[in-house]
Subunit: 326 residues, 2 copies
């Protein structure tokens, strides 16, 4: 039976919400859980639920701390204890805490897969064509072409093994579609991807991110963060303006009521409501990041995703693709 280790700190709603999410998830699937955090906040929720263990701690790493320093100094921080336990046993670790601390802890405690330079966060970007995995989504700055090539391998392995995409199409986020476009890093990365065993479909311009032209979109964490947050901001600003103006007159209010269902249907394809988080690819054992603003329903989804991620054994696939290159 799968065993998940959960860092109960890090989400806005706190450990009690996490305990509620575990309870919800257990109604859908049988698994063992080890919860790392303040036992007195979680125990009352989970009293009577079996196969739940607690590792009590009241310390955690905050978003504002330097992750690497904090990982080394705060020996009893929840994420440190959780990763140490993952080294000993368990199938996957789930945390809604700081991405930096998760990455740092992944590097120093659980370690990277052999030959992997950097781990990357693989966020699923929803679109009407089945979505696209963005690697890296913002965990790594100052990368190199070799690192970006590895992100492509990590993303493709995840897309194939966990999401079930056959021969995932890998695109390189770039400023133009022709070979030779972009900065030095993009130009060199293009060459590495072209010569690889991956199903490389070439450069992808940012205006096509939502057009489903690839399953895995490769980029540096800086540009990946810019793309992801620009999407978020554009959607929220445009839809906000539309809503506001629909509420501005009786006529348009009636119109708004008449298109409500159609609007909901249209926006469903762009929604992240059914996603709980994203894997940190490239670590020796599965590590999964949940959204910081999760409620129990969303964190439950993250638990299910993390368990499925562990069961898909993406690490094996990564090692296989890397070996194909030799």
């Amino acid at each position: 039976m799968a065993k998940i280790i959960i860092d109960a700190f890090g989400s806005d709603e706190g450990p009690e919400m996490v305990a509620n999410a575990v309870k919800l998830a257990r109604q859908e699937k049988d698994f063992e859980a080890i919860l790392v955090g303040p036992k007195e906040q979680m125990y009352p929720v989970l009293e009577g639920v079996d196969k739940v263990e607690f590792i009590h701690t009241e310390n955690f790493i905050e978003n504002t701390e330097s992750p690497v320093m904090a990982i080394r100094k705060k020996k009893d921080a929840s994420i440190v204890l959780a990763l140490q336990r993952l080294n000993e046993e368990g199938d996957v670790l789930l945390s809604a805490g700081s991405t930096g601390a998760l990455l740092g802890g992944g590097y120093f405690i659980t370690k990277r897969l052999e030959g992997i330079h950097r781990a990357c966060l693989a966020v699923w970007v929803p679109n009407p064509h089945g979505g696209t995995i963005l690697v890296d989504s913002g965990a790594n700055m100052d990368t190199s072409p070799e690192i970006l090539y590895q992100f492509a391998v990590l993303g493709a392995a995840y897309s194939e093994a966990d999401l079930g995409v056959e021969r995932p199409r890998v695109g390189l986020l770039n400023v133009g579609s022709e070979e030779g476009k972009g900065d030095k890093r993009a130009i060199e990365t293009y060459k590495l991807l072209k010569d690889s065993s991956l199903n490389f479909v070439g450069n992808v311009e940012a205006r096509d991110i939502l057009n489903g032209v690839c399953d895995v979109l490769v980029t540096d964490g800086f540009a990946g963060n810019i793309a992801l947050k620009t999407l978020e901001g554009a959607a929220s600003s445009l839809l906000g303006a539309l809503k506001k103006s629909i509420y501005s007159s009786t006529k348009s209010k009636i119109g708004g009521w008449l298109i409500k269902d159609a609007m909901k249907e249209a926006l469903k394809d762009y929604s992240l409501d059914n996603r709980g988080g994203a894997p940190l690819l490239g670590i020796k054992k599965p590590v999964y990041k949940a959204h910081g603003n999760s409620n129990a329903e969303v964190f439950k989804i993250a638990i299910m995703e993390a368990l499925a991620y562990a069961e898909s054994h993406v690490e094996d696939r990564i090692i296989r693709i890397l070996a194909e290159k030799e």
Copy 2:
């Protein structure tokens, strides 16, 4: 009287459209025009219009050519002849052609302003808060902190002198709001901007691009292109999906008809319809880029913008801000 030199090649609709745009612009403002391109296509449109001169050529630089090579080899390309004429006389050059060729020609023929490392394209990003100038919007790859600092100076000078913004707020596009976030380039650029005489408001996350938190947004051309094209793609994809789903039933069609005016009003703030182009900042004499897909009405707007840009003497302001630093 202001004199504008126009590269008549480069737009999708071609030289005849450009001649029509000149005719339209002359109905609004008195100016002299020198048109560089195939005279036989433009002369019939402008017959009888005074203060119009033609430099005949049938050669031009295509988007697919290496700009630097083409600038050096194609001595009779329209952009080469136009820039050479700009060196001799005239207040501003306008072209809808390849940005690369315009940048290359600006560097090798007209030259940069003293002390300026790179010229940058300053695209105005519309939003409900008066818009934001994005420097660089995609002309330069592989920049340094010093180059990004100069983009900030160029953008601030343009915002102040041409767009009339007092003490423009300068933001740095970054992956987080705190100092110390981002890649090495962003971290170093932050320090330069903080120590400058500019009105620096700190890091700006991509989700805030449309929220009007700054007047000038500084970034490398790679990230600038990603941000700009992600905005474009998100708007087109979302609005396309909404439209499609509104047309899917009679009920929602009626609703769509009722909210039509409200929708138009809401989207006005995000529209580029009233913009004709963007300046290439940092060149010794004013150079202005028109949209490649302009029709005569939009190219007319670009002519008016280019003339206003020339009259605002942004170069003087740039030199002044750079001197303040010493």
